[in-house]
């Protein structure tokens, strides 16, 4: 009897939450662009193409790593696009110190690729400058509702 009740509750729970879809408030292109441009200087630039993208990534996130690996190893993707990479941690990944290590390094792009492509992870406590960067990116990301990494925004 108890088993049946537990099973019923479990099934009800499954039915209630199975189809639950996270609603994302999609901020329009026109509203998103000035916000992103406001943190333009906080971005790490990769590639020299004529099409510009803002990409939010977490250096420890598996799909962000896949994305950066694919892009950085493809000459066509580097010559056609310019990636303005914004480091935005996924809370569960606990990557704050890795983000700081990238921002604080003398050559952030190189460090980024070292960590994400070559899997040589570095940590750093960071400083006021890195924290300020992270906070600015965090504020914009929340306004835009960056709910996943990588999150891309392509400029027209």
């Amino acid at each position: 009897m108890i088993k049946a009740i537990i099973l019923t509750l479990f099934l009800m729970d499954t039915m209630l939450f199975a189809n639950e879809q996270t609603a994302h408030k999609h901020l329009s292109y026109e509203l998103s662009l000035p916000l992103l441009q406001s943190i333009h200087n906080d971005a790490i630039i990769l590639g020299n193409g004529k099409k510009f993208l803002y990409v939010f990534i977490d250096p420890l996130c598996p799909y962000s790593r896949k994305f950066i690996t694919m892009v950085s190893k493809n000459p066509k993707m580097l010559s056609k696009y310019q990636y303005r990479i914004l480091l935005y941690s996924i809370p569960h990944m606990e990557s704050t110190e890795v983000v700081s290590a990238i921002y604080i390094s003398p050559n952030p792009v190189e460090t980024l690729l070292q960590i994400m492509v070559e899997d040589k992870v570095l940590y750093d406590k960071g400083n006021v400058m890195t924290k300020a960067k992270v906070n600015r990116i965090d504020a914009v990301a929340k306004k835009i509702d960056v709910y996943k990494r990588p999150y891309i925004f392509i400029m027209k």
Partner: protein, 705 residues
């Protein structure tokens, strides 16, 4: 020069006999020189001939789009396990690496789009190749997609299709292909070894038949020389006057057929004349009895088909020239070379044993049922009107080209890939799928991949400019862009399920929403055939009409216009209806078969009518005239037709696609022509015969009643 005139050829025969060696030597030398100087090149594929006249190809080339040759490889396996999965994937990769291959469309070229996430907000749009999945994963994914890939895999993973797009025909004989397979045959090149074997076998059959019919070697050797000379001279003169060096191999059969039947009218008369007269007089009989009708048949061919020579289509020009020249050259050879050659020989067994057939036919046909004849003719004319409606009606639905699991490749030029452009492709796809429903498996285009990527992209919703940019970005990221578009045009592949391709081509040609270009050879050929159908049919109808009018002029009889037109039209109309009923695609072989039939039927009409009216003019009864007509004209037509049907049926087994078709179509059409000549033409001659009335009006007793 009417049918009752008998030309005096005594002096002419004397001259021929005097210079016979010179005449034979002259022809031998002429044939060798012409054959050396103007050697034609023979092809067994008709693609080149159709494409020469293709407006769509011109437009495609003007846009500098490359055209492709599409071929299909079907691989059948017993079990689809991991090892076989990898073998099939390897086959896909090996096909791509073959020289000349531009792309291969198979299960392993398909891009399966899905969103992958590892939880914790780590998520990315992913494009997976079927070859990179394990067997279980692939089956699961395809099941989730409701097996949208039925055109590349079917029968529970036992049949796999590879569509190979290349610059030319791709040879796959060196590949290690798992299971059993079917692959398109390269019919563009002639296997001369195989063809020579069949030609030799054909010659042996003709020797045997001539021996059986005439019990003499003279018939075979004179026919062989006459036909060879006629064929060589016809094609070398075509090369000389038109500059067209490439001739379709099946056009050879036009000259062979025409030359053989023309030869038989002369030879047969010479052969049977020796029953009563000596060989010198037999030559005179051969010429003064056959030269007039043979001259009229040549005039009929020249005037009937002469105007077609000026039509701006290589196919029509080559067909009409082959027939005109073979008829004229055959006539000249029969007047000069044949008497010169035959003057050396004498026939031992001049009696022909199959004369009784003529008596049987005469007996039956004198008692013909007028209502039945008129009913048959009426029905034939209804069929003719119906065919005209199908061809000239709003939509040309006469010729069909039913295909199963094939592809069409299109190019759509663009200035900029933007939302309106993608929507125009979507609209085109929707209109196409709405019109042809299940006949089309799917349409693979920029819009399908963009929508597929957008549907799986959680960052975007409806397809707007932003969503399109993202989709195009992911296409670049996964290397899909080159597959779907280049710098000036996008590619569209239409996977056909089971469809009449002619109908689809017609729809595509008339679609106004986008500017589209065909780039695969099969579709370009299909559209060229569709465009030329009306022209070809009109040409044929015009030739029939001219033949009818000239026949009337030759016999000074309006009724003979109807007879000439009807007798020539019957085999073509009935054959056309059979073709339509069986949905057999229009091909050059079919047109050649129709041309041969036209040539034979018009020859028979003139020879039959000449003999019949000549005997009636000199006062013979209807029965006697009919018997004589069968004896002097019917037997050569029967012999010629039986030989041609046998040879053409043999061609059906050559395994050379083009010759198989010409064999089947020609054998069928010659049989229809023979049946018309034996059963319809004599009855029509009886129907329009006014000699009985003429004698009664003159109040004279009919002399031979």
């Amino acid at each position: 020069m009417m049918y009752y005139d008998t030309p005096d050829v005594n002096r002419y025969v004397d001259v021929i006999i005097k210079y016979r060696l010179q005449i034979i030597s002259f022809y031998l030398l002429l044939v060798v020189i012409m054959g050396t100087v103007y050697t034609p090149r023979f092809l067994s594929s008709d693609a080149l001939f159709w494409l020469k006249d293709s407006k769509q190809l011109e437009q495609t080339q003007a846009k500098q789009f490359e055209t492709h040759h599409l071929s299909k490889l079907i691989v059948r396996i017993d079990t689809f396990d991991e090892k076989m999965h990898q073998s099939l994937k390897t086959l896909h990769d090996e096909l791509i690496d073959l020289e000349g291959v531009q792309k291969v469309y198979s299960l392993f070229s398909n891009d399966l789009v899905e969103t992958k996430n590892s939880g914790d907000d780590s998520e990315m749009l992913t494009v997976i190749n079927a070859g990179d999945l394990d067997t279980f994963g692939l089956r699961k994914l395809l099941k989730e997609l409701h097996n949208d890939y039925g055109n590349v895999v079917e029968d529970e993973y036992k049949t796999f299709y590879y569509f190979i797009s290349g610059e030319k025909f791709i040879d796959i004989s060196n590949l290690n292909i798992p299971g059993t397979y079917d692959y398109d045959v390269n019919d563009g090149e002639i296997n001369w070894y195989l063809l020579s074997s069949y030609l030799l076998a054909g010659l042996l059959i003709i020797v045997f038949m001539f021996q059986l019919l005439f019990r003499s070697n003279v018939a075979f050797f004179s026919a062989l020389l006459g036909i060879t000379f006629s064929t060589v001279l016809t094609f070398t003169i075509i090369v000389m006057i038109t500059g067209l060096e490439t001739i379709h191999i099946s056009m050879l059969f036009i000259t062979i057929s025409i030359a053989l039947v023309d030869f038989l009218f002369f030879y047969y008369r010479w052969h049977v004349s020796q029953y009563k007269v000596n060989r010198h007089n037999a030559l005179i009989k051969m010429l003064n009895r056959s030269m007039l009708p043979a001259m009229w048949t040549s005039i009929l061919t020249v005037l009937g088909l002469g105007s077609l020579v000026f039509i701006d289509s290589d196919i029509i020009r080559l067909l009409s020239l082959s027939m005109i020249l073979s008829s004229v050259i055959g006539y000249l050879l029969n007047l000069t070379f044949l008497p010169a050659l035959l003057s050396y020989f004498e026939i031992e067994h001049a009696h022909v044993p199959y004369v009784k057939l003529g008596y049987i036919l005469t007996f039956r046909e004198l008692r013909y049922n007028k209502k039945f004849l008129l009913g048959f003719l009426g029905f034939t004319y209804i069929l003719l009107a119906f065919a005209a409606y199908l061809i000239y009606g709003e939509s040309n639905s006469f010729f069909k080209l039913n295909v199963k699991n094939e592809q069409i490749e299109l190019k759509i030029p663009y200035n900029q890939i933007d939302l309106p452009f993608v929507h125009s492709i979507e609209k085109f796809t929707e209109a196409l799928e709405e019109r042809f429903e299940d006949d089309i498996e799917d349409v693979v285009s920029l819009s399908t991949i963009v929508n597929s990527l957008n549907n799986s992209n959680t960052q975007t919703e409806v397809l707007d400019e932003e969503a399109l940019s993202q989709a195009l970005f992911y296409m670049d990221l996964y290397g899909l862009s080159e597959k779907y578009f280049d710098e000036s045009a996008i590619n569209i592949v239409i996977n056909l399920s089971d469809i009449n391709k002619v109908e689809l081509i017609e729809w595509l040609l008339h679609y106004k929403g986008i500017e589209l270009y065909f780039i695969d050879s099969a579709t370009l050929i299909g559209s060229a055939k569709y465009n030329q159908t009306v022209l070809l049919t009109s040409s044929l109808f015009f030739a029939l009409l001219i033949i009818g009018l000239i026949t009337g002029w030759i016999f000074h009889s309006k009724a003979m216009v109807l007879v000439g037109f009807t007798v020539n039209a019957i085999p073509i109309v009935w054959f056309g209806m059979i073709v339509n009923f069986l949905a057999i695609p229009l091909s050059l072989e079919m047109l050649i078969a129709m041309t041969i039939s036209l040539g034979l039927a018009s020859d028979a009409t003139i020879h039959f009518a000449f003999k019949y009216f000549r005997f009636r003019y000199f006062g013979r009864t209807r029965k006697h005239a009919l018997e004589k007509m069968y004896f002097y004209s019917g037997i050569p037509v029967i012999i010629g037709s039986v030989i041609l049907i046998t040879v053409f049926l043999m061609l059906y087994f050559t395994q050379i696609h083009s010759l198989e078709l010409i064999g089947l179509y020609s054998a069928s059409l010659i049989l229809l022509s023979l049946l018309t000549d034996l059963f319809v033409l004599p009855v029509m001659l009886l129907l329009i015969d006014k000699f009985q009335v003429k004698w009664e009006k003159l109040s004279c007793p009919y002399p031979y009643n």
